[in-house]
Amino acid sequence: MNKNIKLLPVVAFLLSICTSVLAVNPVLDIGFVGVTSGPAASWGISNQRSMEAGASLINDAGGVKIGGTTYDINIVSFDDQKDPKRAIAGMEKMAQKGIHYVVGPNVDDGAAAVRPVAEQQNIMYFPYAFPKSLYTKPASNAILGMVANYQSGPAIYKYLKDNEGVKTVAFIAANESDPLSQREGGVAAAELLGLNVISKTVTYQVDTTDFMPVIVPIVKLQPDLLVLSGVAPANAPQLIRSARELGFKGLISTETGQDAQVLMDGAGDLANGFISVGGASTPEIKSAEMDKFVTRYIEMFGEYNDESNTKVYALEYIIATLKANPAAINNVDEFKNTMETFTAPNPYLKGDRVLKYVGMSSFGQKRQISIPLVVNVYNNGKFETLFVAEVD
């Protein structure tokens, strides 16, 4: 006890030095609640790291000016271990720190579980989960942080139908909430387009290590297009490799973001022609700002993860919206009002694309960030842009 008391002034002194050196600017905390350990770690880690890289770029440039004040951005992260119970705890922690803007959670059950807390505590959150009930009224605090599969799926299938003559399609999904819901959306979209869905019941356990037995029944049917619904980046290369080695000749696509390095490692040339959704990655469309972001990401974490291409936006949207209406910094109602009219230039893409909130046609209210729907095709270790579309 005695010792501790003696140490107190020293600690206080050190603390005061730290704060006076570091906090030139007041700090604006932005939260992240998502999964950064366990089997789905790559979703959350790529997410958290994009935010940290983005914040570090802003802070090195001297902070961001919101209203009359210049802020440094600090990312507060919470690992929910993909457990909805922990996700609630994470949201509570964010509320405790006075944070009003949180990115995540990464999965359906977590996003649904945090809704009561977010609404009680006035937190706007940006889940990477697709259930429509999160974004339609009476829900009002969740903003979809990416393009949903029921939005990208139809665009991809239509493109392939028109350009590649796809007529039959088969779906495969992991036996888990998110992929199964995405499969359902995909099947509906394909049927609406008049495609013949010849298989939609094949599933695999999340603990599958070898996908050959899983994919045998589908390869026999030889569909023109095989859709890997909601596939985790870890599983995609193995599914592709198994399908190709078994002699599957058709196209393979997914509606989630993937990583080129992982595809190359796991499937090599067999992954050529694999269609997935990207954000701002390919050389044809990305701006110098995006290059800077990727460079910073690599400096900080050693290796880039292409999944971050779709996850670079949420932080940018939060800050840009706060800049547009400084009153929103402590008041989410102001934020919601601003969302209705907000536009700003998109820094990550060439040309004059804008950031704005969308979602009227899917949710009946503007509860989605507008990201260009960039559809990629993998070829020899790189993604190439197949086409770019808009979601309204």
Binding site: S37, P39, S199, D207, P213, A234, P237, V262, D265
Partner: protein
Amino acid sequence: MEQVLTNGVYLGAQYALIALGLTLIFALMNVLNFAHGQMYVLGGFVTYTVYGRFEMPFVVAILASAVTLAILGAFVEKFLFRPVLKNSEREESSMLLAAGLAFFLDAVILLLFGEKQRGVPKIIDGVMNWDFLIIMPYDRILIGVLAITFIVTFILFMQYSKPGRAMRALAQDKVAAQLMGVNVTRYSMLGFALGAMLAGIAGGLLVSIVGVNSGIGGPISIKAFMMVMIGGAGVISGAIAGGFILGMLESIGLTVLVAYGDMTYLLIFVSLMIFLSIRPQGLMGKPWG
């Protein structure tokens, strides 16, 4: 159907190799090693580093995996399991330790090797295609054969070598073995090292086919438990049988029950529960674990 059966055998060989180490450790020490899957993953990452990154021969990489895990296993036994088993009132406490170890290895692997799925270049290219009845890439055939070779070698080792016999005696009856002059401490450590090594070899072999990622350890442990249960806990032949049966069950189930989609695994698990409640000791296990 030929394809389905071939897949089943091949999957079974993989599973049996994974289950062997788990059952060995259980037989010797009555420890349900929750960290088995993590040891498998670590073995996979060692091979990935040595073969994929440093581009050394595959054999060297497998050897590196085996040695790394054997050393880890020996340390874990000596400094963790031995004192806990000695000091705790109920030997089930070792399950807490095993679970803690599993979390620990998960954390270390994630910090060391990152969150991404990793794979290595194919060992051999090309696909065997037998009249479209059986299609099997050559590297899978090689790995399947290697897995079976390791299993056979292990059985021979347990059957005919001196340490193998000592360990079997230990598994059958600890007290009797001790009275016959078997050094329990030494062989428990050897057994644990051997079990961990088998996990490492399995991980190393399979990384060339299915890759590896830092989060897959837990699910693999659970799957390995199931194989061990089917065959009967603590019996080497049981683990092998369990592995092959689960492999077959999955391969056939996925094809036959394809129309029921999401129900496939539910049916597999429910039948497993029914089987176990009728025959609690599995196919060939000791009656009461």
